[in-house]
Amino acid sequence: MDPVAVPVEQGLALAAILFSIGLTGVMVRRNIIIILMSVEVMLNACALAFIVAGAKWGEADGQIMFMLILSVAAAEVAVGLGLLLQINRRVGSIDIDETSRLRG
């Protein structure tokens, strides 16, 4: 059975929707864990866009970028969660407004 190819436009549209959901999450939510999750959603949206684009050209480049993004996201979230633990220990809250001391 032939695999049915997903059209590039639809794949990229899905990625764009995921990207917007992530961006909205970063801007709207106040809980630091949710913000980090939203950044992760944005990174994965980029990864999906690369996979779709790579499939269009029939190249492995898109999938390699996917793996690169995966490792980058892991490193970023590891540091982010480390900071989160420290903040929670010192402030007793992970709400970004309550932790804020700098003027912005």
Partner: protein
């Protein structure tokens, strides 16, 4: 990979190996002086390894990396600043923390990221360098264990830097979807040939990349994180963020936009001009009402990146190959960045030295500097010199930098931008002089307790000397830039 290519990336291989060695030394024999000495040796050796590369340039090493004069010049700048920051950080951390050694390893890792960034010619190496630099920086900002400000600054930087990376990545994905290539040079061939959906993707992609880069360079309207991060981060790390991180990202964005031809799109140029004008005005105006020296320097850096964008736009106006006006624009941005690097390092070097006596928080408030002239005249003179150079007063390196920007703007007739440069410099003088006046106040303030440390003191003195020397006699640097870039 041929022998020549191996020699060309020897600096990067060497630095990576030395980072591993340093990690082992820290694991088995923890000693701050040894760690710092290894750091300095690593930076110097990496710098020396660029000498044999010079005879090979320009050389392409795999599709990911290209080493040319441009990359070598910025690598040299980055290594120089990293050395200065290492010396400052040694003074800063030696009495402050229990475990300071890993900081110097992170600093080397961030430097490696910046070095990869300036010679990358492909989106994969761009992301690799960007994240190596970024992830090390988050940890460096939050390194001091006391106080909440550092944690908050690190978290803000992490979230905003992460979001801006996703912008760059999504833009790259869109461009890849229509061009089928991730290398910068290959993009130039497809740039204008597309129409319909292709053109939409191209515009959206370059706008996203452009937005992400504006975030990273803290250009208005994406500058909000800068003052907070500058204030919260330890002073030596602030110096690193302001110089190495921004300089490397500027270098790669200039390479990306000029070699791919994306910059020649008129909508991008208009956007860039608006952003440059806004940054110059907002940076200078918002600095007026600050009372914190680190925040003033943050807003001043926003304005300086605005000035730098004038040269960026000039490079885009000329278009085509490396001829006349384009060479001038590259020369101008390189000299301006050189001036900005040493001036900023000098300013944060002084802030670091003044911060040494209080282990709880950095000397941000302007009152910490009152009476400095009467109690520590040398330090005050060096700080005055850096502030005058930031303001662009003649006989300092900052003046030559600004003059170059001006020349690049005049040859491409960017009058509106140049008017804003003048207005911005005028406003800037006010808040720089405010710090200088504070230093001349006669008070019995505690500044007399300040002790000038050996390592940081030498670094700041050398930087101040360079600032004067290259302000009066800029020819050596100009010749170097001409040899490497033109």
């Amino acid at each position: 990979m041929s022998d020549q290519q191996l020699v060309a990336i020897l600096p990067h291989i060497l630095l990576s190996a030395l980072i591993l060695i340093q990690m082992m030394v820290i694991a088995f024999a923890r000693n701050l002086v040894t760690t710092v000495v290894i750091s300095i040796i690593a930076l110097v050796l990496t710098g020396l390894a660029f000498i044999p590369v010079h005879s090979l340039i320009p050389i392409v090493v795999t599709p990911l990396i290209v080493l040319d004069g441009y990359a070598i010049f910025y690598s040299g700048l980055i290594l120089m600043s990293a050395t200065a920051v290492t010396l400052m950080a040694y003074d800063y951390f030696k009495d402050r923390e229990e475990r300071q050694d890993e900081f110097f390893m992170l600093l080397l890792l961030a430097t490696l990221g910046a070095l990869i960034l300036v010679c990358s010619s492909h989106f994969a190496s761009l992301i690799l360098g960007l994240e190596l630099l970024g992830v090390s920086l988050y940890t460096m900002i939050s390194y001091p264990r006391k106080g909440l400000l550092t944690l908050e600054a690190a978290l803000k930087y992490l979230i905003l830097s992460g979001v801006s990376s996703t912008f760059i990545l999504f833009g790259a994905a869109l461009i890849y979807a229509i061009s089928g290539s991730l290398g910068f040079a290959e993009l130039a061939t497809i740039g204008s040939a597309e129409n319909g959906t292709g053109e939409l993707f191209l515009t959206a992609g370059s706008a996203l990349i452009f937005g992400g880069i504006m975030f990273k360079l803290s250009l208005t309207p994406f500058h909000m994180w800068t003052p907070d991060v500058y204030e919260g981060a330890p002073a030596p790390v602030t110096a690193f963020v302001a110089t190495v991180s921004k300089g490397a990202i500027f270098a790669i964005s200039l390479r990306l936009f000029t070699s791919s031809g994306l910059i020649e799109t008129s909508s991008i140029l208009t956007g860039l001009s608006i952003v440059a004008i806004l940054s110059m005005l907002a940076g200078n105006l918002l600095a007026l009402k600050q009372d914190n020296v680190k925040r003033i320097l943050a807003y001043s850096s926003i304005a300086h990146l605005g000035y730098l964008m004038v040269a960026f736009i000039a490079a885009g106006m000329v278009g085509g190959g490396m001829v006349g006006g384009k060479v001038l624009a590259f020369e101008a941005s390189s000299y301006f960045l050189f001036a900005y690097f040493i001036t900023t390092l000098g300013a944060f070097g002084v802030v670091t030295i003044v911060s040494l006596r209080d282990h709880e928080k950095d000397a941000g408030d302007i009152s910490n500097y009152e009476g400095l002239f009467w109690h520590r005249p040398l330090l005050a003179i060096m700080f005055t010199l850096t502030l005058l150079s930031l303001a662009g007063i003649p006989l300092t390196v900052g003046f030559i930098g600004k003059f170059y920007i001006f020349t690049a703007g005049v040859t491409t007739t960017l009058w509106l931008l140049l008017l804003t440069v003048i207005a911005g410099s005028g406003i800037g003088l006010f808040y720089y002089l405010r710090i200088i006046f504070a230093m001349t106040k006669r008070t019995d303030a505690s500044v007399s307790e300040i002790e000038i440390p050996l390592a940081g003191g030498c670094a700041v003195a050398a930087i101040s000397a360079a600032m004067l020397l290259f302000g009066i006699y800029p020819a050596p640097v100009i010749n170097l830039i001409n040899n490497l870039i033109a």
